[in-house]
Symmetry: C2
Subunit: 335 residues, 2 copies
């Protein structure tokens, strides 16, 4: 039902501020491309993020594939990635596929060395353990947000007090504020300026966290049936302040007020030299469809592309080709 | 069908050497208890492993809950845990619940900072993405084993050559060999001696890796239906050199030659003071049953207990109570 509405219109209707932000970013960057950065070193990851940043709106990580992931919260891999994300204007999505009892997923999301909630704007859940997995993550996400807001307010008001006292703002709160509020592509970061609208978006968005529910999979013979997928939609509606949408193979917006995103993996283009060639699977169960099919026919909002771009001779050119194909398919769809 | 057979008998029939080893270990230690060590620091983990080691046959980790997990392969948390495991005689099971396309799970199992395959004797998979997830992990496990055997042979023959040459054995190969071959409870480690049989087992077992398929869950309203569970059994039979069994709520051995283990979470005892009290869930979707029910009636082989033991006033006494209840239920079952 939402497939023919523009991203811009849906941005206004979305209940989740990060969804709204992302839809505006897509409009501004003319991109519905998410890079699946499945590489094995931090350097490869950061250099891909830097070079493909302008073409994408989301960068998807599997942090646990990176052999030298640095867990330091202020100088490590996630912090460096976040700086690149703010510069180019994209969100970070850790594809963790949480899939356990409520108590365990809460701890996995917020604790451990990885502390995913601290750096990933978006993460996802496999709801097969039951709806409690989503409820538990939503609860953890809400708590995190409240704590951050509180810390930020404390930091800001301490700074205001210091300013009134004629002293410099504290380093702690400057770090906090600039970490969260550095405008994407602000003059000082040297990128293009995407305009006031995104700047305003960025000011709100980074304090938000969002969840995608794995409602359908791209892999051959998977066991996500209609009953499961329907329950995912139900659960998303029940937690619409935290759930942004789905990882799915088709749009799952069934009612006018469903404003969920559909992000779709299993996407490849035939080679540029032979655009009519058939796209095959990876021999390990992965199945592929083209951007035209996924965005144009299935109502996907964002295509997730990994090896199609990463293994290309020139990933920059290839990312641009995917961005363009994805965007064309969207424009035709809403025309 | 296997529920009335003794662990010792099944040890002889099992196709997977690690299953066989584990069943002998259970017989020797009179224990069918797996500790779910869901704590948040490495010290808590290692100290639990040390104090409860004598009562358990498997220690289950969520390495990603440990805030100061040290990833160093020879001096880090996993290496220290492995030493304790060899001393007390238990296997390490990382409850990672891999649940992605084949290509991704292979990388997650073998790469990244965690390198789970290097230290976890057992891990598990959520097969919802399709059977390819199991096939892919089995392939990665087989490759790992071949490489280790090769390295070990190279190390051993290099050492033999050095001995013939009158030189000392190389440090590298000594490390490799002792890492894998330190006999459980050998005199030098100071523990009890569990006898020749386990020593022989240990000599073979640590070069093995095994997988459990998440076939049924303990959590309320989970989506693992009969069709899915049946497919898990099929997949286990197809990969019986790598799949040791299931995480399930009941034995899934349906044929005489099914020699799979059933490890069962969602287990708690009523308090010792009031053994008739009802056991409630955790308020986040977890559901509990007693060892008597799970082992005695449902045919489970090993109970997995987390908070029931960890949060007890005295975890050592409580672990011993669970061990005893679990073992009694088993003895009654085979009687
Ligand atoms: O159903 C799914 C869900 C996901 C993401 O949640 N994925 C992930 O997308 C990426 C696809 O990569 P590829 O384009 O190289 O096949 C991988 O990271 C894979 O783990 C899939 O491939 N299929
Ligand atoms: O169906 C399952 C599967 C698993 C393990 O694969 N688990 C895990 O067992 C443990 C149970 O802990 P508890 O005894 O404290 O409830 C947790 O680590 C949880 O993640 C479950 O609780 N239920």
């Amino acid at each position: 039902v939402t497939a023919r509405q523009s991203y811009a219109l849906r941005a206004e209707k979305a209940t989740h501020p990060l969804t709204s932000y992302l839809l505006r970013l897509m409009t501004l960057k003319s991109s519905n491309l998410c890079l699946s950065a499945d590489v094995s070193t931090a350097n490869q990851l950061l250099s891909l993020a830097n070079s493909l940043g302008p073409a994408i709106v989301v960068l998807k990580t599997h942090y646990d594939l990176i052999s030298n992931w640095d867990y330091n919260p202020s100088t490590g891999t996630a912090a460096r990635l976040a700086r690149i994300a703010r510069r180019h204007g994209f969100l970070i999505f850790e594809d963790r596929k949480f899939g356990d009892i409520g108590n365990t997923v809460q701890l996995q999301y917020t604790e451990g060395t990885a502390r995913i909630v601290e750096w990933a704007n978006i993460t996802n859940v496999n709801m097969v353990p039951g709806k409690a997995a989503v409820d538990a993550l939503a609860e953890a996400g809400r708590k995190w947000r409240e704590r951050k807001r509180y810390e930020l307010n404390v930091g800001l008001s301490a700074d205001r007090q210091r300013e009134r006292d004629g002293r410099k703002a504290s380093i702690v709160s400057i770090t906090t504020v600039s970490q969260h509020f550095e405008p994407a592509n602000s003059p000082r970061s040297g990128g293009e300026d995407f305009g006031e609208e995104v700047l305003r978006g960025i000011e709100e968005a980074p304090l938000e966290r969002g969840l995608l529910i794995l409602a359908q999979m791209s892999s051959k013979g998977n066991f996500m049936n209609k009953e499961y997928t329907d329950a995912c939609v139900e659960s998303a509606r029940e937690n619409s302040d935290f759930v942004m949408g789905f990882i799915a193979q088709e749009s799952l917006n069934r009612q006018e007020d469903d404003q969920f995103l559909c992000m779709t993996p299993g996407c490849q283009l035939p080679p540029a030299e032979d655009e009519d060639a058939e796209v095959k699977g990876d021999g390990k169960g992965q199945q592929y469809n083209t951007p035209q099919k996924l965005i144009g026919q299935m109502g996907a909002d964002i295509i997730i592309v990994g090896r199609g771009i990463i293994k290309a001779a020139d990933p920059i050119i290839e990312a641009e080709r995917y961005r363009q194909k994805g965007w064309e398919a969207y424009e035709e769809r809403i025309a």
